[in-house]
């Protein structure tokens, strides 16, 4: 697609301390495409505590590079802190449009403080700077925050390096619901089950996941608090319970229930109280509800017209309008957070591929050339879309920019990765 050139840079940041079991469930990232006009940026080595500075510097650099929007300018041997004088002309001649410099210092309470500044070398001015205090084991998190700051200053949109992703790993007959940083690092298992887990969905505040678990021989919807590990059932009616989607206010979930005979969309209270309220009344299958970011609209999949297509309706139910028209199988609608586009999976000549519709023009663009794309999920800045796909018979995750140019692949050494869900902005 396009004139995408392969960077094919493998970043295996497997930490030596990890046990074999954890390491084989660790995601590794491969970048297979980049934007056409990457901003050249120099990230000088952070000054101060050696190993801590190295972790922060390398996290910032790999975040920016992985985004596909930046080209790193060589800074070998240059260590600058946030107060060092900057020779803008020198950096400009090295090809850098921007320069970041910073330091790490231990604060009196034993924590680490990362300070940095970002400069526009073309204009010869500082664009801003910040300081983040962090514990020693959260240095990568500080690096992600700094990368987000730089990303926003240079692109004008918010970065997603500090966000988290959820996904399911199937390995050795077990299903692991895992949470990792957006770069695939720091994976932690929230739930282990011998039965399938599907459709994880982040609460708007990022503290909980709703998902479907088959642990009781049928699909039941749970809400799971990540920090405490506490979980409770929000939908266990007669029949199947599935496809949870949070309303943007976090108080309700749209779910799909078959209690009245056919898969239809209902809402339930997020705390599990009360009775479900029915939203759709069709003779076909209605499923995969998703709220628009403003909470006013629900997009969903329905085969009421004879084949599965995407429809939308008001968040309270009522009349639905068909949204997808090309082809006989369009499913899994996901409106972008900025409300401008809709990602979905489209079957074309027997192949399931990620497509994006511009909601204003209704123009559809197919973004991948794969056979088995599933479960798209927008990054909260609407720029990237995370999908599950299959490569060499193995389930992997792929992040694709909404213009199709930038592609990253996330896989685990032993097992299938599927059902990705990109979490909200870090608060």
């Amino acid at each position: 697609m396009n004139n995408m050139h392969r960077i094919s840079r493998r970043i295996f940041l497997s930490l030596a301390l990890l046990t074999a079991a954890v390491a084989q469930a660790q995601l590794s990232i491969e970048i297979t495409g980049a934007g056409a006009n990457r901003i050249p940026v120099a990230i000088a080595d952070f000054v101060g505590d050696g190993s801590a500075s190295r972790i922060v510097t390398s996290t910032v650099r790999s975040d920016l590079e992985r985004s596909g929007l930046f080209k790193l300018v060589d800074t070998t041997g240059v260590a600058l802190d946030e107060n060092s004088p900057v020779n803008h002309a020198d950096w400009k001649s090295k090809g850098a449009d921007a320069l970041a410099a910073g330091s790490l210092a231990r604060s009196p309470d034993g924590r680490m403080e990362a300070r940095f500044r970002i400069y526009d070398t073309q204009k010869g001015v500082a664009l801003g700077g910040a300081a983040y205090v962090t514990s020693n084991d959260q240095l990568r998190a500080a690096g992600h925050r700094i990368a987000d700051y730089i990303y926003e200053k240079l692109t004008g949109e918010k970065g997603v390096f500090s966000t988290r992703i959820a996904y399911v790993v199937k390995t050795r007959g077990q299903f692991l619901l895992q949470i990792a940083d957006a770069d695939g690092q720091g994976a932690a298992t929230a739930l282990t089950s011998t039965e399938p887990i599907i459709s994880p969905a982040w609460s708007p505040d990022g503290s909980k996941l709703a998902y479907v678990s088959f642990e009781k021989k049928k699909p039941i919807v749970y809400v799971h608090s990540l920090a405490t590990g506490q979980r409770y059932i929000v939908a266990n009616l007669k029949g199947s319970n599935s496809a949870p989607a949070w309303a943007p206010d976090g108080r309700k979930l749209a779910v799909v229930l078959s209690k009245d005979g056919n898969s239809q969309i209902y809402t339930v209270n997020a705390d599990g109280s009360g009775a479900p309220q029915r939203l759709t009344n069709s003779a076909g299958i209605d499923t995969e509800p998703r709220y628009s970011a403003d909470g006013g609209t629900i997009y969903f999949t329905s085969d009421r017209g004879g084949s599965p297509q995407i429809y939308r309706m008001g968040a309270g139910g009522g009349d639905a309008q068909r949204v997808s028209f090309e082809g006989s199988y369009n499913v899994s609608p996901r409106p972008s957070v900025d409300g401008k586009s809709l990602a979905f999976i489209s079957r074309r000549e027997g192949r399931f591929q990620l497509a994006v519709m511009d909601l204003a023009s209704r123009q559809v663009q197919v973004l991948t050339d794969s056979n088995k794309d599933e479960s798209p999920s927008f990054a909260p800045n609407s720029r990237m879309i995370l999908i599950a796909t299959e490569i060499g018979g193995r389930g992997v995750l792929s992040a694709v920019s909404s213009d199709g140019r930038i592609k990253q692949r996330l896989s685990v050494a032993a097992g299938d990765v599927r059902e990705p869900a990109w979490g909200p902005f870090f608060k």
Partner: protein
């Protein structure tokens, strides 16, 4: 008669004095059933139950009721004519055994959306449920659920695997709560 045969067999084994079964028409005296490997006895529950506590006629491969799978065509959820007899046999069993319940699990092949497949599997289970209730099974004896594409019987990725995975399975539970779900 059948009820008496098994205690009689147990008594023969416990006594260990004869490999010849006592004829079932002599109504041997009831013998206290013991369990545990130290006795050298395989525990058997009277009434011809299997390990799940279900009657053998539901699980004996020679019995029609041991056939528990109904297969479907691609994207379809109508019960095909070739399965009408099978469904009727299960309906008849449920009518005759009011305390028994079934869980119908609908399944699909791996292609397409997991959630849409979950709903498609539900339609398949619902179609079997509708047939069973039309033939006299009570509504509260039958629950239909879906496993979607999540529990393939055949892990392959070709049409022969997919056709095995497009199906609804019937699981039984006895009145005492024992059974397959």
């Amino acid at each position: 008669m059948k009820k008496l045969l098994i205690p009689a067999l147990i008594s023969a084994l416990i006594l260990g004095c004869s490999s010849t079964p006592i004829p079932d028409d002599n109504g041997g005296a009831p013998v206290e059933s013991r369990s545990g490997s130290s006795t050298g006895v395989t525990p058997v529950t009277a009434g011809g139950m299997d390990a799940n506590g279900l009657p053998r006629e539901l699980t004996d491969p020679k019995s029609k009721l041991a056939q528990r799978s109904i297969y479907f065509d691609l994207d379809k959820y109508e019960v095909k004519d070739e399965y009408k007899d099978l469904v009727a046999s299960h309906a008849k069993y449920l009518v005759a055994n009011k305390g028994y319940k079934v869980l119908l699990q609908g399944n699909t092949d791996e292609r397409g959306s997991r959630e849409y497949n979950l709903s498609l599997g539900q339609k398949r289970a619902d179609a079997v449920k509708r047939s069973l209730t039309l033939l006299g099974a009570r509504e509260d004896q039958v629950e239909s659920v879906s496993l979607g594409e999540e529990k393939p019987k055949n892990a392959g990725h070709d049409e022969s695997a997919w056709s095995e995975n497009r199906r609804a399975d019937i699981l039984y539970k006895a009145a005492d709560g024992r059974g397959e779900f």
